[in-house]
Symmetry: C2
Subunit: 338 residues, 2 copies
DNA sequence: AAAGTCTGTGCAATCGATTGCGCAGACACC
DNA sequence: GGTGTCTGCGCAATCGATTGCACAGACTTT
């Protein structure tokens, strides 16, 4: 590895001159600067990030900790982070928790250890106390999901409203038995989604059947089983809403194995519109469209801004709430009069 | 930030004792170890990765540079890397080039600067000389795509064979006008795919019409336009193969906007099977199924192994070639006798 | 001509964890 | 008693880039 000292030796000057020349300091003659830069390029010099981080005590690393990267929803988040980081000269380090609290803790530790300038986390429901402690009083924020154990700003969706309006729409179409695939209640966000669903039913005086609500881990595998179970019930729902990204994936995987008749008998609603939803069936899946990129981009920008501002004053916690809208596609049908 | 020195001061011992206790050195008494560990935990100590990297001159960072993260294909690669890194105690840093050589070069520079233990790259067709120079003689390898400017090991698919067999299958079904969406010829991998297609046509003595081959940037946007153009041609093809992950996405986006009749008139074949392909139309998209996870996992493991072996002897370049198979789904039909 | 102002560089300390070497005390063995 | 041997721990250097301070020479001002 070529170091500053190597260049200095080659040119017969001191290391300080090299750094200053490369950093474009005003105290270095133009002639020297040009010479140094050319030599550095020739020698293939690349500054050592570790040394720089150490000396300056600040890194240009942004940590993103998500439960899944294969789901399009989280992939969109990662892309938004990548773009913002790119634009502002930061690097992205990606950590995938697989919705496992112990993996999550390892990652949190690694991100903190790397002295990330900022950390964004989509927390698991069972986030460890350790993780929470490690993140508190650091430049971190939670994204989409909100875990009350985490004393951090939150950037997310108005989930009550999102689910209420989706449910409302189904009621408009005459559906009375609406299935819900929903995450576990430890997360405020899953609770909100459930409550939105309940609120819509209540306001419209529609019957509520607990058997239609399937709660479980926010994974595709769970949703797939749950959706199949709903379909095969004695009196199956005429519509199903997946209240989560992983859950939508599982629901579609299940429904893809249904017969055409079965598919037509049940209207489906997904969470977070992704381009593959347009590939669903003949004319696409109806979905709750969230401004994911916007949210993730805003969060990433906020983290970077705070990192650069480095004000030490304790801030009050903030929630950043975003709206959503329903994108109507072929997967919604009028309920058959029963 | 709590440092080793802080713990040492608190316990009235030297910093060396702390490090050794935490590293479980044999020269430290069990009593001291326990004490140190408890104190470290209480004080919320987290080692500084930068300092450690600097001293040891080796990081636990694996860099992955891909053109896109929203495409399921690359997301699967990222997941495989994440899993392997996780299992071996490494961290993943993700860089997205958007198929732009200048962004790519910035990322390469950053990854090298971070002294990554290993770097995997899915190179752009127009990879800069700079990038190639930076990567050469480092622990790096190219993945899927192969750029001859890069003097690195390659882990990828037998693309000639993959495209030959897909084309063959379409010929079996009676198709004679088969469209091809393909990347630009600068990349060996794109060239291979094209050649596989040509080879199949040639062997079966099927006519070759250059107008059916759309070559361009490996992006969804290009493929979408190209697929639409093929469909609207005077004598449209009865089948289209997308010879790339991004191209498949674009092809489906285009086809999703076609009428049912139009969709039924053209058999589609995608590249790299992803779960969303099963959502396509009524019974899923036929696709060339690649062992992506396997490839990516193997590559990541190889990088880590080499990093740990740290042998200085120059190695010969190796190619790691994987096979593929066609997954048949509803998007394939017999050609209408014309 | 003396004093003041720039310019262009070098010196040396610093960031935090790690480790080779050395040292002191305890104990064993002949 | 003398000589090893082992255990437990401290000293100080090291990794590479950065930066406050100092300093030498050139040039300007009164």
């Amino acid at each position: 590895m070529v170091t500053v000292k190597d260049i200095a030796n080659k040119l017969g000057v001191s290391p300080s001159t090299i750094t200053r020349a490369l950093a474009d300091s005003t105290r270095i003659s133009t002639r020297t600067k040009t010479l140094v830069r050319r030599t550095a390029a020739e020698m293939g010099y690349v500054a050592d990030t570790a040394a720089r981080t150490m000396r300056s005590r600040e890194s240009t690393l942004i940590g993103l900790l998500i439960p899944d990267i294969e789901n399009s929803f989280y992939a969109q988040i990662a892309k938004a982070f990548s773009d913002v980081c790119n634009a502002k000269g930061f690097q992205l380090t990606l950590a995938v928790s697989d919705d496992d609290a112990s993996i999550e803790e390892r990652h949190v530790r690694a991100l903190v250890s790397a002295r990330c300038a900022g950390i964004a986390i989509v927390p698991t429901a069972s986030l460890s106390t350790q993780s929470a402690a490690l993140l508190s009083s650091r430049n971190a924020a939670q994204l989409i999901r909100r875990n009350s154990a985490l004393n951090l700003d939150w950037f997310g969706i108005n989930d009550v409203e999102a689910l209420r309006s989706a449910t409302d729409r189904l009621l408009d179409l005459g559906h009375r038995r609406i299935g819900l695939l929903c995450g576990e209640a430890q997360l405020n966000s899953a609770r909100d989604r459930y409550q939105g669903y309940r609120a819509a039913l209540c306001e419209r005086a529609a019957p509520f059947d607990p058997a239609l609500v399937m709660r479980g881990p926010p994974r595709a595998s769970f949703a797939q089983r749950a959706a199949n179970k709903l379909k095969s019930a004695a009196t199956p729902p005429s519509a199903i809403i997946a209240a989560g990204a992983g859950l939508s994936e599982g629901m579609l995987n299940a429904a893809a194995s249904w017969s055409t008749a079965e598919q037509e008998a049940i209207s489906l609603v997904g969470y977070c519109d992704c381009s593959a939803f347009r590939w669903w069936g003949e004319s696409g899946l109806t979905a709750i469209d969230l401004p994911v990129r916007q949210i993730a981009g805003d969060l990433c920008s906020a983290l970077i801004q705070r990192a650069q501002a480095k004000s030490e004053e304790p801030r009050r916690l903030e929630d950043h709430l975003y709206g959503s809208r329903l994108v109507l596609r072929g997967s919604l049908r009028f309920a058959n009069p029963s």
